[in-house]
Assembly symmetry: C2
Homo-oligomer: 144 residues x 2
DNA sequence: TTAATAAAAGACAAAAATATCTTTTATTAT
DNA sequence: ATAATAAAAGATATTTTTGTCTTTTATTAA
């Protein structure tokens, strides 16, 4: 469904959101990596990219690390997916035709459209900051 | 969503189903490749594998090629997906946790479950032989 | 029986995704 | 100012996916 990169990105962003909301000023890359059980160097690269795009904030140096500002906390999972994987998943043809088209639909087009829309709406409604409480209560998990 | 391999596989299988139902005894790899606009050698490899697994039938030599027997025509797209990509898409965690679990759900688990189920049911209900008529009428397409 | 045909099998190549390591830069505390 | 810290940037490595080419095997038609 999503690339590994994207899976890590979503988990990391939700993790940072949680820590930010819990009151941690900033969270370091090592804590993120262990918090979501991902390769440290790899998630560093991913966050670097997301930082460049402004989806996450960071500061260097002692006590530095990543955090989410007020507006970033309101970003949706769809925004993260789009930033990492592009919108192939939201717009592309499920059977790999050059483009999804109503006029020249592939055999799964009509069903796929519905499923894709459901996926999109769901991700669009899920804001990074929405999971903090349940994560804290251990009703949701980012690693296992 | 699906791997390239899987996208080609589905298109090819539906294409073979169409040709088989139209009355062509067998259809050659070149015709398949051009019929679904895929790399010839690549789709050959894919069908080789599906043939080994019994999802498609083939014969070598002059007038040889691929076809679907009566029971293969009733195979679903889900069967093809499972044969090619495994059941990660149907069973795995959407955020890449080691396994999808009701007890330790990831943040998108509940929504993802619904979407995944919709996808699965849709693919399960779609039989390879179901698209022939609409393909013939050019209401559906396998290339563009 | 022989030559032609077409898929199977196996080897190889290129590209993309995933992962790791090193050096540089910005920031902070001393 | 200096040393320590932590992310940014850049380079490199590994694995997986995608794509191609060559040789072998089975089948058929002449
Ligand atoms: S054409 Fe394939 S999903 Fe729309
Ligand atoms: S735990 Fe992630 S989808 Fe079920």
């Amino acid at each position: 469904m999503f690339s590994k990169t994207c899976e890590y990105a979503i988990r990391a962003m939700i993790f940072i959101a949680q820590k930010t909301k819990e009151g941690d000023i900033r969270i370091g890359i090592k804590d993120i990596a262990s918090g979501i059980d991902s390769p440290e160097y790899f998630i560093a690269k991913i966050l670097q990219e997301l930082s460049r795009k402004g989806l996450v904030q960071s500061v260097k140096g002692p006590n530095g690390g990543f955090y989410l500002d007020h507006s970033s906390l309101q970003q949706s999972l769809a925004d993260v997916v789009r930033a990492v994987d592009g919108d192939k998943i939201f717009e592309g043809c499920g059977l790999g035709l050059k483009q999804c088209s109503e006029k020249c639909p592939c055999p799964i087009h009509h069903d796929f459209k519905r499923i894709r829309k459901d996926l999109y709406r769901t991700l669009e409604k899920s804001k990074l900051g929405n999971f903090t409480e349940e994560l804290d209560k251990q009703l949701l998990f980012l690693r296992r």
